[in-house]
């Protein structure tokens, strides 16, 4: 740790030196103009004439400025030679004012409360609009809100700040991503292909492509995750939530749209800015496992013999906490340098970013380098061109993968981590069944033999050209070029964690290369005209096309001769193999779109928008490739009506309503063609018998068409008491039909799956966001709060079958993903008469007792045997036990500012949903082997649970049993209330007064400390001892109910697995402008 700090200090020092050089350079430039001065004084007051302290006063176009004192008075020098100086007065909550000095020596200013709300410009997709003309449900989140949370990914920063946007962490490794749902899920998905050991496609992946939002960066659709863009480069996010707003993205709009606007150059003085932070991340808490003595007792209770080595360790009182030995505090560093400037004709910005996050597991980290530049240039009076290019290289190192945490849980505590001579005890479980598990300490001691690295190289470019054809009519072309390449390298030598071999000839190496490119061309005609000063008409027309390409290849090698070679040279390896059929993929898809949008607004009171889009996609059956998406919306600014003039309490009131149709392209290319899987077989041992095999996986469908979602949205924007309280309420209802559904066929019908247009879902919900200025004192004290609350209720309305489809885990009237399992009602206790009456299976005291409530064949109420116990536990006894849809989400951020100090905190809650905890379950049968193998069988260590013994007749966990195998109904142990209220961030900053900085040529400097994830306020998951963090960290790993094979269902469940543990982070940072 100390070394790491030193290292970072060195790096910081190096950077500081560079900065110093720059500072000196600019100080020279600045001081040259600071020779002679004149002085201006004055007072700044509010509408009542009371002085306002802390108002910033600067000379326009410079960084020279001051702030008002406690009485609102100011005094400042104006350098001679400043031609026609203009003072700019600005303060939070008020509209900025400019005053021409014109030789005056005293200037008094009356500040007017800010109603900028309505005049703000909002990006709406293919253009911008004034906020007051907006007709759809759009949330804008500014960078200052996002930046409260230091993160490498803007989506992570968005968590809890936008109503209707539900973000679930999906990975805890450095550089991992989150999953986003806007207004819930709409689409049922299931496995579309048989996953192999190395297959990348999962149910969760399918779900993400089906229901995730469309990301658009500076107008160009963006694929993949936003890790590749430095959050410091982002100016704002606009989230289009309802169909009237997203319909302009037609076939990709159903999951909502997130418009990312990056920072661009501004005319005027060159501004340098530097943002940086340094911090450390710590494990919130280790998972609670049995210690040495407890583990010995646990094994005894399970009748599982201790190995001789364990007996010796027990005698020597050894109790190793493997988690403590491995987890480390990890540094986080971010440096971002940016230059913007320009003239009236040309504006530019350039930026560089370096981010590195260390992992709490040794040698895991994520590093990103970004270079970005934008240029906007007015070629002539009529023609404007611009470019934005974002270039990123990132490295994600995950030696040991995400399975280290569960591996650590499993290790016996009855083993010394080190040998008497101080070397690592290579095989701590000697003599046991799992004797070939190498010590996790080899992650540190032999790190050269472990490589797991993904490098991404991405260049994302958007260009535009704009021609003013006649007044009000513009032609614009947007061209997007996006290319990214991922190279995954891995090497696993002998004698290290995860390898299971001590032979060099068994070392493994692999290399995966994947390439993605996409081009987008958009032709836009934009027309705007105001008639009679009251009627404002706008038209946008679009013709665009897009092509995506994806190709990947994968090669593995066995028997690399030397660890140092890793995967750099496959030639000397003993054998090389090309990966399986899902590792070598070529896919292309095309999209052609036409869109028209008409906007009209009348006198700032009424506005309306109508859009129409047609999309054609290559992935659907010929003849069904095109579909059209209409949308209509209107808004009424009630406060601008005359009858509202007499109600001063209400400063803003706007009613919006809209309807639209959108869709998802959630099927993979070539899905309509049916597919043969490929396999291999060899007739005999010789090469002459080696053959490729084809297997029938899915049947063709010649009539696949678009699914569509139609949505209603009604919204109300309001502002009360001079906009001290502002907010919005949205209510919506959506219906999705013709869902592109991969359905599992009865196995006897000749192929596993096919796609159909089947199924309907609906969803509705409400979103409330309220922003308040709670206290605004004349002395500059200000306390503001942002609050949001939302919920979504999704439901399956119809399926491809007349009734519910338990085979796929879909139930009409239920949310899309539910838990369908036996209901655990406790543990069988000694002497329970049920033990003798239950005929199948026969059970014994100490085993899980589930509810017997239904007989074979009874499906619905009214069937014979429905609700009747028959003393047999059969799959018919399963029932819906819960789902993963929160009852509501809420976020609260609050900020207090006083005299340059600001303190902000944000809280986040998701309430009333279940999560699945796979590490208290164990797969009963079948080939998935998920869950926690050997849970409660005492073969391995595990979460410390309250287990049954004849003397501890608990109803929590069954009797551990070393010989009977997987506990009966083990899946029922894993369903936990996933509700939580968390403190997300605490951020304390100080703006060094401009007066101190001006002379150094610095226009603003803020230093801050922040804590991310500092504590959990309330969570049953934590209180019941499952772990430190209830936030789901992925999908998969969940297990089937006993005796069932619901293909795919467990893969869709939100799980909190024993992946990399949750961390909390503490940072120290500064934002500097000069």
């Amino acid at each position: 740790m100390k070394n790491e700090i030193l290292l970072v200090n060195q790096k910081l020092r190096g950077l500081a030196n560079h900065l110093k050089l720059l500072l000196v350079l600019f100080a020279v430039l600045l001081t040259s103009s600071l020779s002679a001065q004149s002085v201006v004084k004055g007072k700044v007051t509010d509408a009542d004439g009371t002085g306002i302290p802390g108002v910033n006063v600067i000379i326009k176009g410079t960084t020279t400025g001051t702030a008002t004192d406690a009485d609102g008075a100011f005094s400042m020098s104006i350098p001679d030679g400043t031609a026609d100086p203009v003072l700019v007065f600005s303060f939070i909550g008020y509209t900025s004012q400019e005053q021409q000095v014109s030789g005056r020596s005293s200037i008094d200013v009356k500040m007017i409360a800010d109603t900028k709300e309505l005049n703000e410009i909002v990006v709406v997709g293919y253009g911008t609009q004034l906020k007051r003309d907006i007709t759809g449900a759009i949330v804008k989140v500014q960078s200052d809100v996002l930046q409260q949370t230091a993160s490498y990914n803007v989506i992570d920063q968005l968590k809890g700040h936008a109503a209707g946007v539900d973000i679930i962490s999906a990975s805890a490794v450095p550089g991992g991503e989150s999953q986003i749902r806007i207004r819930g899920s709409r689409t049922m998905v299931a496995n579309t292909q048989t996953p192999t050991a190395t297959s990348a496609t999962t149910d969760a992946g399918n779900a993400n492509s089906a229901d995730g939002p469309l990301l658009v960066v500076d107008g160009i659709p963006y694929s993949g995750n936003l890790n590749d863009i430095s959050p410091s480069d982002i100016a704002s996010l606009e989230i289009l939530k309802d169909a009237s707003a997203t319909a302009i993205y037609g076939s990709r709009g159903a999951g909502g749209v997130i418009l990312v606007t990056t920072k661009r150059g501004t005319s005027g003085k060159t501004v340098f800015s530097y943002d940086g932070y340094y911090g450390t991340s710590k494990v919130m808490k280790e998972l609670r496992v049995f210690n040495g003595a407890e583990f010995a007792q646990f094994k005894k209770d399970a009748n599982y013999a201790l190995t001789p080595a364990e007996q010796a360790a027990q005698a020597a009182n050894v109790s190793t906490d493997w988690q403590k030995l491995i987890y480390q505090n990890a540094p986080i560093t971010n440096h971002n340098l940016n230059v913007t400037g320009g003239s009236d004709k040309s504006k530019y910005s350039m930026g560089a970013n370096y981010f590195k996050q260390g992992g709490i597991i040794p040698n895991q980290d994520y590093t990103r380098y970004t270079l970005r530049s934008t240029m906007d240039h007015q070629l002539s009076n009529r023609i404007k061109v611009g470019i934005n290019t974002i270039n990123t290289v990132s490295y994600q190192n995950t030696p040991g993968g995400s399975g280290v945490a569960s591996g650590l849980m499993r290790l016996t505590p009855l083993a010394s981590p080190y040998n008497p001579d101080g070397t690592v005890n290579l095989l701590p479980q000697v003599g046991g069944v799992d004797a070939n598990v190498f010590s996790p300490l080899t992650l540190k001691s032999n790190s050269g033999a472990l490589l797991s690295r993904t490098r991404r190289l991405r260049t994302f470019n958007s260009l535009y050209g704009e021609v003013d054809i006649i007044k009000g009519l513009k032609y614009r072309i947007n061209v997007g070029l996006d290319y990214y390449q991922d190279k995954s390298d891995s090497y696993l030598g002998p004698n290290v964690w995860g390898s299971g071999t001590s032979l060099q000839s068994q070392s493994q190496a692999s290399m995966r290369n994947s390439e993605n490119w996409q081009y987008t061309v958009e032709n836009l005609l934009l027309y705007e005209k105001t008639l009679n000063e009251k009627h404002k008409i706008g038209f946008t027309g679009l013709y665009s096309f897009q092509k995506n390409h994806y190709q990947t290849s994968y090669v593995t090698a066995i028997g690399v001769p030397l660890d140092i070679m890793q995967n750099t040279n496959f030639y000397p390896a003993q054998s090389t193999t090309v990966g399986g059929q899902y590792d070598n993929v070529f896919q292309e898809r095309g999209l052609i779109s036409y869109m028209g949008r008409l906007t009209y607004s009348y006198d700032g009171r009424l506005s309306a928008t109508a859009t129409f889009r047609t999309d054609g996609s290559s992935v659907l059956s010929p003849g069904n490739q095109y579909y059209s998406y209409p949308a209509l919306a209107a808004a009424w600014n009630i406060t601008n009506e005359k009858f509202m003039a007499g109600t001063p309490v209400i400063s803003n009131l706007k009613l919006r309503a809209g309807w639209g149709v959108t869709a998802n392209q959630n099927i993979n290319p070539y899905s309509t063609l049916g597919a043969l899987g490929t396999s291999v077989y060899n007739f005999g041992q010789g090469a002459s018998g080696q053959q490729v095999g084809f297997n029938l996986n899915s049947l063709p469908n010649n009539s696949l068409k678009w699914q569509s979602t139609s949505q209603w949205n009604v919204g109300l924007d309001f502002g009360i008491i001079e906009n001290r309280i502002t907010g919005a309420i949205e209510v919506y209802n959506q219906q999705t039909s013709n869902i592109l559904l991969p359905i599992s066929l009865p196995p006897t019908n000749g192929a596993g799956t096919t796609f159909t247009n089947a199924g309907k879902t609906k969803g509705n919900g409400m979103e409330i966001s309220i922003n308040t200025i709670n206290i605004k004192k004349d002395n500059g004290f200000i306390w503001t709060t942002e609050f949001n609350y939302f919920f979504n209720r999704e439901q399956i309305v119809a399926l491809s079958t007349p009734s519910s489809d338990p085979g796929n885990g879909w139930f009409i009237g239920q949310p899309l993903n539910v838990i369908y399992d036996y209901k655990k009602i406790g543990i069988w206790q000694t002497g329970d008469p049920g033990l003798t009456t239950q005929t199948s299976p026969t059970q014994q005291a100490g085993q899980i007792k589930v509810l017997d409530w239904n007989t074979a064949g009874a499906v619905k109420k009214g069937d014979t045997g429905y609700g009747v116990a028959d003393n047999k536990i059969t799959p018919d006894d399963r029932m819906i036990l819960g789902n993963f849809q929160p009852k509501f989400d809420a976020g609260l951020s609050t900020k207090v500012a006083y005299k340059g100090f600001d303190l902000s905190m944000s809280f986040y809650a998701r309430m009333g949903m279940k999560v699945v905890v796979p590490y208290v379950t164990s797969e009963p049968a079948g080939s998935n082997y998920t869950g926690y193998s050997f849970f409660n069988q005492a073969r391995v260590n595990q979460l410390k649970v309250d287990y049954w013994t004849p003397t501890n007749p608990t109803n929590a966990y069954p009797q551990p049993n070393g010989s009977l195998g997987v506990p009966f109904y083990s899946s029922t142990l894993g369903y936990v209330d996933g509700s939580f209220i968390k403190c997300r961030t605490i951020n304390l900053g100080y703006n060094i007064p401009a007066a101190f900085l001006g002379k150094a040529g610095i226009s603003s400097l803020r230093v801050y400390v922040s804590a991310i994830n500092p504590f959990v306020i309330w969570a049953p998951f934590v209180q019941q001892g499952y772990g430190p963090d209830p936030e789901g960290n992925g999908y998969g790993g969940a297990i089937n109910a006993q005796g069932t094979t619901n293909a795919g269902t467990p893969g869709r469940q939100v799980t909190v697995n024993a992946n990399n543990p949750a961390t909390r982070q503490f940072m120290l940072g500064l934002n500097l402008k000069f």
Binding site: A305, A435, N436, T672, N682, F683, S688, G1043
Partner: protein, 643 residues
């Protein structure tokens, strides 16, 4: 204005170009890395389709779940300690529709075969000889798959047309309709297939011999089903015909029973039909050294019957008489170590390539084997050729257990209170076939440096190893086997003939004659005496029985002793004979079901573990839950009774 016109004109021109270029191209799908079902209309597609079916057959045969299910819950096997997932199959305790799904995925193969049979004859570019070979393979495979399915589930759908339109409706067909298709397919296959394996279907893929073996077994099985003497006659005649023409098909018995399991003879004359594997990892789906265990069609048979010796046998192990319970196969409260075998001291053996990877799923029902099936272990050599009963010290002086891959094969090994065992020389663990007084540490008054595990000491983690499938060629002890899984051996043809004759398809003398061929071969022995150097101290000579004849027995006397008369042929005798001949070869469950003996044999020989809960309805496996749940159109799919 002129400029304006130019610009607009330019824009329109560009836009038009873009439209005309892209519209046609962008929306046309051109798959490159995936294959659509239309591939079945090409010669290479037909071949790949057949190969794909073979690959899916090995997705079951030789894999853990399928293989265990063919043996669990019979008279031959008890549950091993690692059986975890298969507990219910061993005990019949609450088997539900979700516990047994093996095989229904084969319907996609049946559909592919339907496609091959339908599209093959019209596929351009195929000469008639190649077409004939392809059709023969497809006919054999379709019969093979349907035969397994109809025996296992009884009520299954029959599809012989290529299904190309998805349907969510289906219904079972009468088993006799399915048998009719099977018989028809096999008769066609006999006409179309070559006599011996011919490229590209090398190894031991389907041939005329394989088709005749299968046809005789199909007739026999249908005979039992309908009690139809005509079928028994057909079965006997088909088997007898195959035996008569054995050399034509390159088939026959090995001289020594053990040679049938010698890896060098995997494709030898005794092997009729295999599910193949490869030592080329690409063609066998495994990555060496990755301890792959499931999910793909890898051959794990060498591990399934291996107990976890490395963790459970210390040099000072002893008996704790207070822990002995009466019945080792009890399904009662969990007892890890019912026989009171208490391990202590340094572990005697290392896990290495030779000593394998213990999966411990199934263990021999030793009481049935020693007292009934293999009661005559002097004249009949098959017990010794089936089980490995001796483990040599390989652990080095530090003691064994850790699975560093290299056993130590020379030098001093573990030192116990009874001396130091020499690696590669001294017996570390001996599974005696009788109760040895003084065991586990001594034989009578003679101290034994290693451990003697007697039949009464055996429990879920300590039992002799079924060695037929051992694969010493594996590079890593955690690697799967790359030997083919032998589905049919030639000796079965004799036993099919014997069973058919016994049921009226021939004379009782013919039944005895057929049995005697197999039994007299079993009398054959070779090899040197096993000499456990120093294991008993210095005085006691080695008396352990290895491959050679025990004192006073020769090939002649042994063959005479095992020869039976027609009066001795009973159904139970035939079933015992099948145990002796095919123990561990994944056919017991279906053998007992075919001969309607499952319930009686289980109740007689496996009373405590499987006999208490078995029901007459258990002779059919439950229709898989997927089938039940996914038939959502039309009438629901009927479940077999009792589930």
């Amino acid at each position: 204005m002129k400029q304006f016109r130019n610009i607009v004109g330019g824009v329109i021109l560009i836009a038009t170009m873009l439209v005309s270029n892209s519209c046609t191209d962008l929306l046309v799908e051109k798959p490159q890395s995936v294959i659509a079902p239309t591939a079945f209309t090409t010669p290479s597609g037909l071949l790949a389709g057949i190969s794909g079916v073979y690959n899916n057959i090995r997705g079951q045969y030789g894999t853990e779940g399928f293989t265990v299910a063919q043996m669990a819950g019979t008279d031959e096997y008890l549950e091993g300690n690692g059986s975890s997932s298969y507990h219910r199959l061993f005990t019949y305790n609450g088997i539900t529709a979700g516990d047994f799904s093996g095989g229904f995925s084969w319907y996609s193969d049946i559909n592919a075969l339907n496609g091959i049979l339908k599209l093959g004859p019209t596929t351009p570019g195929l000469d008639s000889a190649t077409l004939k070979a392809y059709l023969g393979q497809a006919q054999f495979l379709r019969a093979f798959l349907y035969f397994y399915l109809v025996q296992t589930y009884g009520n299954i759908p029959l599809h012989t047309d290529f299904i190309t339109v998805p349907s969510q409706a289906d219904a079972p067909a009468p088993p006799n309709d399915i048998y009719k298709v099977i018989v028809q397919d096999l008769n066609h296959a006999i006409n179309n297939l070559p006599n011996t394996p011919t490229a590209p279907f090398l190894g031991k893929a389907a041939t005329v011999g394989a088709a005749k073996w299968l046809l005789s077994k199909v007739y026999l099985t249908r005979g039992w089903l309908n009690n139809d003497p005509n079928d028994f006659t057909l079965a006997y005649n088909t088997a007898a015909d195959l035996i008569a023409k054995a050399t034509t098909y390159g088939l026959g018995l090995q001289t020594d029973y053990a040679d049938a399991f010698n890896p060098a003879n995997d494709y030898g004359k005794e092997t009729i039909f295999v599910s193949d594997h490869s030592n080329d990892p690409k063609y066998d789906y495994f990555l060496t050294g990755t301890a792959q265990a499931g999910g793909l069609g890898i051959n794990v048979t060498p591990w399934l019957g291996l107990s976890n010796l490395v963790s459970n046998v210390g040099v000072e192990s002893k008996l704790d008489p207070t822990k002995i319970v009466a019945d080792p196969s009890s399904i009662g409260p969990p007892v890890y170590n019912p026989m009171g075998f208490v391990s202590s001291g340094k572990l005697l053996v290392n896990r290495d390539i030779q000593f394998g990877r213990p999966f411990g799923r199934i263990r021999p029902n030793i009481s049935y084997l020693l007292n009934q099936a293999f009661a005559d272990r002097a004249n009949d050599s098959r017990y010794w050729k089936t089980f490995q009963v001796v483990w040599l010290e390989n652990a080095g002086s530090g003691g064994g257990g850790n699975s560093t891959l290299n056993g130590v094969y020379s030098g001093p090994g573990v030192q116990g209170t009874r001396g130091t065992l020499q690696c590669g020389v001294d017996t570390a663990i001996w599974f005696s076939d009788y109760e040895v007084p003084g065991a586990p540490q001594s034989k009578g008054s003679w101290p034994f440096k290693g451990i003697i595990a007697t039949p009464n000491m055996q429990y879920g983690n300590l039992y002799p190893y079924m060695k037929k499938y051992a694969d010493p060629s594996r590079p890593n002890q955690n690697d799967p086997s790359t030997r083919p899984f032998v589905i049919a051996r030639f000796s079965e043809v004799y036993l099919i003939a014997a069973e058919a004759a016994f049921k009226g398809g021939g004379t009782m003398q013919q039944a005895a004659d057929m049995l005697n061929v197999v039994r007299q071969r079993a009398a054959y022995r070779t090899g040197k005496a096993y000499a456990p150097g120093g294991a008993f101290g210095t005085a006691l000579p080695a008396t352990m029985v290895g491959d050679p004849y025990p004192a006073g027995i020769t090939l002649g006397t042994a063959q005479a002793a095992v020869t039976i008369t027609s009066a001795q042929v009973t159904l139970d005798f035939i079933l015992d004979e099948r145990t002796r001949e095919f123990y561990g070869e994944a056919m017991r469950w279906l053998d007992l079901v075919r001969t309607k003996s499952l319930i009686s044999r289980v109740k007689t020989w496996n009373a405590a573990q499987a006999g208490t809960l078995i029901q007459p309805t258990h002779v059919l496996r439950p229709i898989p839950l997927d089938q039940m749940l996914l038939v959502t159109v039309g009438p629901g799919y009927p479940q077999n009774p009792g589930y």
